[in-house]
Amino acid sequence: MNTLSSQSVITVSDLTKFYGDFKALDAVSFAVEKGWVYGYLGPNGAGKTTTIRTMLGLLKPDQGEVQITGINPTKDPVHALQSVGYAPELPTLQTFFSGEQLMEFTGKMFGLDKLTRKEKINQLIDLVGLKEWGNKKIGKYSKGMVQRLSVALSLINDPLVLIMDEPTIGMDPEATAHFRNLFTNLSKQGKTVFISSHLLDEVQRICTHVGMINRGKMVFDGPITQVLEAFTRKWVVEAELEKVTKRMISGLEKLDYVEDVEVEGNKLRIGLKEKKDLRGEISSEIFKRKGVLLSLNLQKITLEDAYLRALRGGEQK
């Protein structure tokens, strides 16, 4: 788990939340540092949105504490949330406003002066591709447009911390890619991005760190490179040969770094004892035994594999 450091922009310590008798969060702790893109993963009902709503001071924790830039948002929302941008999951925005009017109002809530508001509105409306829709009532927007406007609203105060709950839901693939780049660029500018998402591919592409929650408990918190290692028992090399012989199999099984070999037709699944790319060594062994190699692949390790294993309660290796 990440240790809570003085660099932390978001600090969640020992957070516990009950809904009646139901324990929605059970001593959840993690810390997010400046410039990280933190992916917060978990199945439906795991406690992701409860965590986010507690981070924003919308829910009061039964135990534990949240600090945003060192300030508790439940106790001092004015200062804690001044540097926070929040885009909720499938937002319902005020339909009596146009997109620009809502941005104007949101800018006022952050205390931005008139000139800054005007500049920000023009810049952000353009950034999210709503230039022609800015003066139209939000009631006429599609789901994807509302989502895009919600992202623009979250950026109006030039936040240090962006909290996004499923930010690309409802967006078309082009917009999704655009926003992925946007979040990556924001982190490069030193902003901290906290994303709750079901889209593991998206998280794997843009996040530097990952937190996984299941049934209210954190099951993993660390760099994305670590999560793949932590929940992957072994690495596997798949070799397709012209012909598989018993001599070939027994030869490979005797190698120090091979754990086991499974045969499926003319394909070998060679389980490795270490998490290393040993395709070079394996191909040499196959050539030594006069094998004709058709293909050789290191089995791709995806965040999905690690995620599913983590949720099943798999041990971290």
């Binding site: 001071g57 929302p77 004015v78 319902t92 925005l93 406003f97 809530m109």
Partner: protein
């Protein structure tokens, strides 16, 4: 940004929210139409039959205009003020901004109440203008601003009750129906108790009747008028005199208690999620 500025931002938001409602606008039009109808009817049919001085008829015009519609508008504006934000999921968006819950509820209350005051201002002005047009020069017009303030103050009772239910129940329809139910029940019970008091002389009936929310709401402005210019003869019903201080105190108690309950409920509890 200061407390006042943050409250002012929410107040402005509440204006937009309330006035975006077509049925609030429809009720305002209905209130003015009803008031016009009464004064036109007075001018056409009653004025000719009665030998009453009509130089202060504008007071009747203004007070009759408040009648049913203004409490109804108050209940509707206040009943949706807090609850709609929960029902639509916009409370999350508003309260995830740098604002305290006290600033938020203050802005909401003042925003809604100022919209109501605008409506009351319009109906007061309509009453005066129509009276001038239909009955000729009017006297005692200098008390019109005081009458407007008295009407606004008396409307605090049902506005605050509905506002409180809006936060406590977090369901707009339930809040409005409850407040309107209390308005109707209080009116009926108050009438019954007044009759019982008149027939039996038992003061308890009078005390209870005065403690009900409709007594102060409907009488405070009349008591202020009679205090300022004496009892008026109205062709519809007399402008009664009474203990305006007691009425003012009862209004303050209802409004104060409602505001405190709503604020405590908001501050002490979680911001509930959008109802699915």
């Amino acid at each position: 940004m200061s407390f006042v500025r943050r409250v002012a931002v929410i107040l402005g938001y509440e204006w937009r929210r309330a006035l975006a409602k077509k049925w609030v606008l429809a009720l305002i039009v209905l209130a003015i139409a009803f008031q016009t109808l009464i004064l036109v009817a007075l001018a056409q049919f009653i004025a000719t039959a009665l030998e009453v001085e009509f130089d202060t008829i504008w007071v009747v015009g203004v007070l009759q205009g408040q009648g049913l519609f203004v409490p109804l508008i108050a209940i509707i504006i206040a009943g949706g003020s807090m609850s709609e934000e929960y029902e639509r999921g916009t409370a999350d968006i508003l309260l995830s901004k740098p604002i305290t819950k006290v600033e938020y509820i203050t802005g909401k209350f003042l925003g809604g109440f100022s919209v109501l005051c605008l409506v009351e201002g319009i109906t007061t002005a309509t009453g005066v203008v129509l009276s001038l047009g239909l009955f000729g020069p009017q006297s005692e017009l200098q008390i019109a601003p005081v009458l407007f303030l008295a009407i606004a103050y008396s409307s605090l009772v049902f506005f605050s009750l509905s506002f409180m239910f809006s936060e406590v129940f977090r369901r707009g329809t339930l809040a409005m129906f409850t407040a309107f139910g209390i308005f109707i029940a209080s009116s009926v019970v108050s009438q019954i108790l007044s009759l019982l008091y008149l027939s039996t002389g038992e003061p308890l009936y009078d005390y209870i009747s005065k403690g009900l929310p409709t007594w102060s709401t409907t009488n405070f402005a009349q008591f202020i008028v009679s205090q300022l210019i004496g009892t008026l003869q109205s062709p519809l019903q007399p402008i009664s005199s009474g203990d305006f201080q007691l009425a003012a105190a009862i209004i303050a108690v209802y409004a104060g208690a409602s505001i405190v309950i709503a604020t405590v409920r908001l501050v002490k509890s979680d911001v509930s999620k959008k109802a699915d």
